[in-house]
């Protein structure tokens, strides 16, 4: 789960990482008032959970309260990658001498945290990694020993030889690592960390992504829950225990198992269409879940045909078929429905669906091909 920038700044500040003067508002009028109080140029930044807001024109510098009003009003009318901007953060604009990057994430291959620092801050770190990888310094952290002061110094001195600066950067790295561990982050990032004209360190941006699997340990964070920014169907699916991701295509997919779901989507693409979603009903494919899944997929108006692909292993296909049959009779939209059942008792399963409106397919390939064809009619 990603949290908003302003929330991440609050976490930073409670851990002693310095940031600029800033305030949050939902209106252009509010932004203007904040700029008046600050009595200096400000940055107006959209608060969204997706990346790429700079390129979408959702971050602007304003020299006066009037300009702030105008900038905030424009930004508050934007959508960034489909996410509506509801709030803006108004930050004092600083005179900047240097921009650094600091970030901590998990190195999957080495199975440990990795702390990164770069003198090329202010641009996307992926870009730096691609163009000038030698400008990213990394330290793998031993899971049982943890982040040590010497490692913080090592990274800090590779950014600056100035003793005061390096000490300040090392302290920030140490605090950032504490946040990373305490909040079970999958990413904690400051980009950029700036040195101002008066030689102060300041985290201009703040990014925190929390490991979904650790959210149960942080009930305080689910109140930061950013449900209103999420796709309503994704929220609904999650509440019903389904793993669902909405996409842009036309073929609604209902599958048991994440890997099989991805394989099914790939086939839809291969036969010339695009999947409308990822949806995993869970290995067991119980009646309730299959039925909820049909509801969710049918609520997506883009969907032109539905493809159900179930592998019955421990759960028998005839049981899954009973659940499907019931769900089909309750279907409110008359969309083509292609079902493929495979595994234990598959013949009995198919027999039970024989007199429904579902089109039964013998293989995954056939099911995808037929669903794509039906979706185009």
């Amino acid at each position: 789960m990603r949290i908003y920038e302003y929330q991440a700044h609050e976490v930073f500040s409670s851990h002693g990482i310095p940031g600029p003067q800033m305030e949050l508002t939902r209106t252009a009028r509010g932004a203007e008032e904040i700029a008046k109080r600050f009595a200096r140029p400000v940055a107006v930044k959209a608060q969204v959970l997706v990346g790429g807001r700079g390129r979408a024109g959702a971050v602007k510098i304003a020299q006066s309260p009037d300009e702030t009003h105008e900038a905030a009003s424009r930004i508050l009318s934007l959508h960034v990658k489909g996410e509506r901007v509801r709030e803006v953060l108004v930050q004092e604009a600083l005179q900047i001498r240097e921009e650094y990057y600091l970030g901590i994430t998990v190195d999957r291959s080495h199975r440990c945290p990795v702390v990164m620092a770069s003198p090329s801050g202010g641009v996307e770190i992926e870009e730096v990694a691609k163009l000038t990888p030698q400008r990213i310094f990394k330290k793998l952290i031993h899971p049982l020993v943890g982040f040590q002061n010497y490692q913080a110094r090592l990274l800090a001195f590779s950014l600056s030889r100035n003793k005061e600066r390096a000490t300040g950067i090392a302290d920030i790295l140490t605090s950032l690592f504490r946040i990373f561990e305490e909040l079970d982050c999958s990413l904690a990032e400051i980009n950029p960390l700036v040195i101002t004209e008066d030689e102060k360190l300041c985290a201009l941006d703040a990014k925190i992504v929390i490991d979904d699997n650790a959210l149960y340990r942080h009930p305080e964070l689910s109140s930061l829950g950013n449900i209103e920014a999420e796709d309503p169907l994704e929220v609904k699916a999650r509440q019903r225990g389904l793993s669902y991701v909405r996409l842009d295509g036309e073929i609604g997919c209902i599958v048991n198992g994440a890997g099989l779901a991805m394989a099914t989507m790939d086939l839809v693409k291969r036969y010339g269409s695009e999947p409308a979603n990822f949806l995993d009903v869970g290995g067991g494919a119980s009646k309730d879940r299959v039925s909820s899944a049909l509801d969710i997929v049918l609520s997506d108006r883009k969907v032109k045909a539905i493809l159900v692909n179930i592998f019955g292993g421990i759960t028998r296909c005839d049981v899954v078929a009973d659940g499907l049959k019931e769900a089909i009779t309750r279907m409110k939209r008359n969309l083509p429905l292609v079902i493929r059942l495979s595994g234990t008792n598959e013949d009995e399963g198919r027999a039970r669906l024989a007199h429904t409106r579902a089109i039964l397919a013998g293989s995954m390939d056939e099911a995808a091909r037929v669903a794509v064809r039906e979706g185009k009619q």
Binding site: S109, E126, D211, N213, S243, S342, M364
Partner: protein, 297 residues
């Protein structure tokens, strides 16, 4: 020989009195797995399906000489369960549990390797050597004894491929679900090296998906170290960036982990990549024939 597990494997079930644990204990016993003990703290003295239950793994091991543990406990307790098994000297730990926190797993993996245990998973369907033993939740009936090694990050997708193999008379030596999480105890490379050394395994099917660099590392390893034919399948070509596709580990993050990158890595290592689960068999057959020709020369 198969890899990891065989007919002599003595299994203890952690979380044996739970819904999943008791259900799958029965399925494993039906398959012929030697389930010698179960562990649920506070339930010592009970029996589940005739299997004695102990309070601790240590005691269970002393009483039963179990060498393998399979874990079905809820995600909050699973790191502790894995550590307990490693501490008690269990050689092979198979963790079925899904939803364990990443930072917990980082510590757990580190400790497990210090203790010298091998961990499969978490978020794994388990390990099966058809006809010998099944340690996990996969449907036993779709498997068939044979000489194809299967290693995969997912569950039902693996069953799909395995069923196709079995129908086509391509039995399996061992099928290993390494798990769908981002931090897992054994990687593709770890399992590939076991298959390479296993005399019973003649060919390998590797089923990968988006997220991480495990497939890329496997491709390099295969090119350098694996002499047996390998067929790869990579799913998630339609996955958008920064969105988790069901499995905690199936996410393209910071531009890393796309299906295209992984497919390219296999192709660069001259490893054939199947388009879908449906054509794994066909490609594998062709590879085996080529291999046969080479050996006949």
């Amino acid at each position: 020989m198969s890899i990891l597990v065989c007919s002599d494997t003595r299994v203890l079930v952690q979380g044996i009195t739970g819904r999943e644990g008791s259900f799958h204990t029965a399925r494993m016993k039906e398959y012929g797995t030697k389930i010698v003990a179960g562990v649920t703290p506070g339930r010592e003295g009970e029996r589940v399906d005739g299997v004695p239950v102990y309070n601790t793994v240590k005691k269970a091991r002393q009483e039963s000489a179990a060498n393998t543990s399979v874990i079905y406990v809820p995600h909050q307790f699973a790191p502790d369960a894995i550590l307990e098994a490693a501490d008690a000297g269990v050689e092979l730990i198979v963790c079925i549990t899904e939803g364990i926190s990443t930072l917990d797993m980082i510590k757990v993996c580190c400790y497990v390797s210090i203790r010298g245990s091998r961990l499969i998973g978490p978020n794994s369907p388990g390990v099966i050597s058809p006809g010998k033993t099944k340690v996990g939740i996969m449907p036993g009936a779709i498997h068939k004894e044979g000489s194809v090694g299967v290693v995969s990050r997912s569950g039902t997708l693996t069953y799909e491929v395995v069923q196709n193999l079995s129908i086509s008379d391509l039995g399996q030596s061992t099928c290993v679900g390494i798990g769908g999480d981002s931090i897992i105890g054994s990687s593709f490379v770890d399992i590939l090296s076991l298959f390479e050394e296993d005399s019973e395994t003649q060919a390998i099917v590797l089923i990968g998906e988006i997220g991480g660099r495990d497939e890329e590392e496997a491709a390099v390893f295969i090119r350098k170290k694996v002499t047996k034919p390998v067929v790869a399948l990579v799913v998630g070509r339609c996955a958008p960036r920064e969105k988790r596709m069901g499995h905690a580990g199936a996410i393209i993050s910071g531009g890393e982990g796309t299906a295209d990158d992984k497919i390219k890595a296999f192709e660069e290592a001259s490893i054939p990549v199947a388009e879908s689960p449906g054509n794994v068999v066909q490609i594998l057959r062709a590879e085996l024939e080529q291999e046969g020709d080479r050996q006949n020369l």
